[in-house]
């Protein structure tokens, strides 16, 4: 396997065990929890160069680099994070963390419930974006990071950056929210609900206790991912990539795979169902649905963002219809009303919501420019 010179190279996850209970926004608490995380670069003596990368729905702590002896194991934001890359690990100490309720090693529905000794499954509590931020703050304490130079994320990750600026205004100097939104629209929630129903109605779901039976609700997960994928791409890009191409050249006049797009969606669904946990998917889509900082302020986002002290970079993509530029502008104008520092770039990129994961030259130039100006 060949690594480019700008890769962080071989990495290994670490584990943080928090023995203090964590109260949850939805009520109740977890008596203790564990988070898996990775770090890249070096924390400077002043501890002023730490950047937290927050993952979206299906991401993880594995942001950059590769695992030893594992082909194709590049982190999900490897094109952004590394020495000389826009989020430069020669300047910054970058932290990636798998969120609470996740399925990549952090405490979640697949973990044993200390009260029963069996896996939590459906008994794992619903977790909110604010709970994730609180758990991340415990990790920051553990790593000796008092203040993040920046918290950055795309989509649901951007919501965590916003939530950080509100929950811990003094602990975050810059918030970078990419392809994000101040809350989900009814249409967004509708897509999430279809995805959830796909999982909940899978006969292999067993009320969320499939794992203790050694079963995976594969069909539900596949469908959930397929519908998600449709919303992550733009109409134009899907047409450009797949058009009406037929796999076999001729229509089969059956329900087998005819169109390339069918093949692509099934492939994405299968891949996802092979590694992702259904309960985590349910929980994370609910976290998305419930995120709404303005709710506590009668829907007044500007009032909700008043506690924020961070400088913001907000980025959106013209073809993103899942989290459209108009949603990012709501964040921007709520910040300008509070006279907070904010820069906003609307990137011309054909790839829809997924653009935030790509290495579009202008997009990366914008991130690089902003990150270069952050003092450490």
């Amino acid at each position: 396997m060949s690594l480019d010179n700008h890769s962080v190279g071989i990495v290994a996850p670490r584990r943080f065990c928090c023995d203090a209970p964590i109260p949850l926004k939805g009520g109740g608490q977890l008596p203790s929890f564990e988070l898996v995380f990775e770090t890249y670069g070096t924390l400077n003596a002043a501890r002023s160069n730490a950047v937290l990368v927050c993952h979206a729905l299906s991401g993880s702590h594995h942001v950059a680099g590769v695992y030893a002896d594992t082909p194709y194991s590049e982190g999900w934001w490897d094109n952004l994070v590394g020495p000389g890359k826009p989020l430069d690990t020669e300047k910054f100490f970058v932290v990636g963390v798998n969120n609470l309720g996740g399925c990549h090693g952090s405490t979640g529905p697949l973990s044993p419930n200390p009260e029963t000794g069996r896996r939590y499954g459906a008994d794992f509590p619903l977790i909110t974006v604010e709970d994730w931020v609180l758990a991340q703050s415990r990790l920051a304490d553990h790593l000796g990071i008092d203040t993040w130079a920046a918290v950055i994320g795309g989509s649901l990750g951007g919501m965590q950056a916003i939530a950080w600026s509100l929950r811990f205004p003094e602990r975050i100097r810059h918030a970078i929210a990419i392809a994000s939104a101040p809350n989900l629209s009814a249409q967004n929630i509708a897509f999430n609900e279809v995805a959830r129903q796909a999982i909940l109605s899978d006969p292999d779901f067993y009320g969320g206790h499939y794992a203790s039976r050694g079963i995976v609700p594969t069909r539900g997960l596949r469908l959930a991912r397929m519908i998600g994928h449709i919303t992550y791409l733009s109409d134009d890009q899907m047409n450009e990539k797949f058009g009406r191409e037929l796999r076999g050249g001729e229509p089969s006049f059956s329900y087998d795979i005819d169109f390339e797009i069918e093949s692509y969606l099934r492939h994405q669904g299968d891949k996802f169902a092979g590694f992702f946990d259904a309960n985590t998917y349910l929980l994370a889509t609910k976290a998305l649905d419930y995120f709404d900082p303005a709710d506590a302020c009668d829907g007044d986002l500007a009032r909700a963002l008043r506690p924020a002290r961070a400088s913001f970079l907000v980025v959106s993509f013209t073809t993103d219809w899942r989290f459209s530029p108009a949603r990012s502008r709501e964040i921007v104008f709520a910040l300008t009303q509070n006279r907070r520092r904010v820069a906003y770039a609307e990137i011309d990129c054909a790839a829809g919501h997924d653009s935030f994961l790509l290495d579009d030259a202008h997009y990366h130039a914008v991130l690089r420019a902003y990150l270069e100006n952050i003092k450490t």
Binding site: F333, A343, A345
Partner: protein, 212 residues
């Protein structure tokens, strides 16, 4: 305002760099220290940078061009990438002390709307533009050509400008829109203030506008 050249220097047209500094200085002169401003069509954000250094202002630039937005971010300017032609609806009434449009109004289509929006979001609007009726431009037209001059430096086929207007025209529009002209300055290409027939002798015009 600080003179650009020491007295007694033989007059020569200002270089583009001097002209920019001159433009900035005129605008800065109209903005008291510590105000909150909005710069429309802010380019690479240099004017905001200058105002923040010399006047300790806060505020935002608005720009549509991708490369300019990138340069703003590089320059540490709080730029917001939106299309001014669509209005400024994201900004609250009276949220700025000054809304500035420096030599960019002539490149916008929705002139009336933009002027109205500037005075909605700010207490005062500062507008600068090249005067199309400047004598050099008139001479070019008289000779049968579209003018190309220091303040209108583009050939007709590659100009970003879409509205060509004069000092007289602009003031008529202000009257029509009920906009109060609080102060006007006109300068020739040497950077000298013009009081005698500015519509003929002024190459660049600056206005401080308000609601009556």
């Amino acid at each position: 305002m600080t003179p650009i050249r020491p007295r007694g220097t033989p007059p020569r047209p200002l270089t583009p760099k001097e002209r920019e500094r001159f433009d900035f200085a005129v605008i800065a002169d109209w903005i008291p220290v510590g105000r909150h401003v909005l710069d429309l069509g802010c380019g690479d954000g240099r004017l905001l940078g200058y105002l923040s250094e010399t006047r300790s202002i806060t505020g935002y630039g608005v720009e549509i061009d991708h490369e300019s937005v990138l340069r703003c971010i590089r320059n540490g300017i709080d730029v917001i990438q939106i299309d001014i032609e669509g209005g400024l609806s994201g900004f609250e009434d009276g949220s700025f002390s000054h809304a500035i449009i420096s030599q960019a109004l002539q490149a916008m289509h929705s002139t009336e709307r933009i002027l109205g929006e500037m005075l909605r979001v700010a207490d005062e609007a500062i507008v600068s533009f090249p005067n199309f009726a400047y004598r050099v431009n008139r001479a070019a037209i008289a000779a049968g050509h579209m003018p190309v001059s220091e303040d209108l430096p583009y050939e007709w086929y590659d100009t970003p400008n879409v509205r060509f207007f004069t000092i007289v025209d602009f003031e008529a529009l202000c009257a029509k829109l009920g906009i109060a002209i609080r102060e006007r300055l006109a300068f020739d290409v040497y950077g000298q203030p013009v009081t005698d027939d500015p519509n003929l002798n002024g190459s660049l015009a600056f206005y401080r506008l308000g609601r009556p």
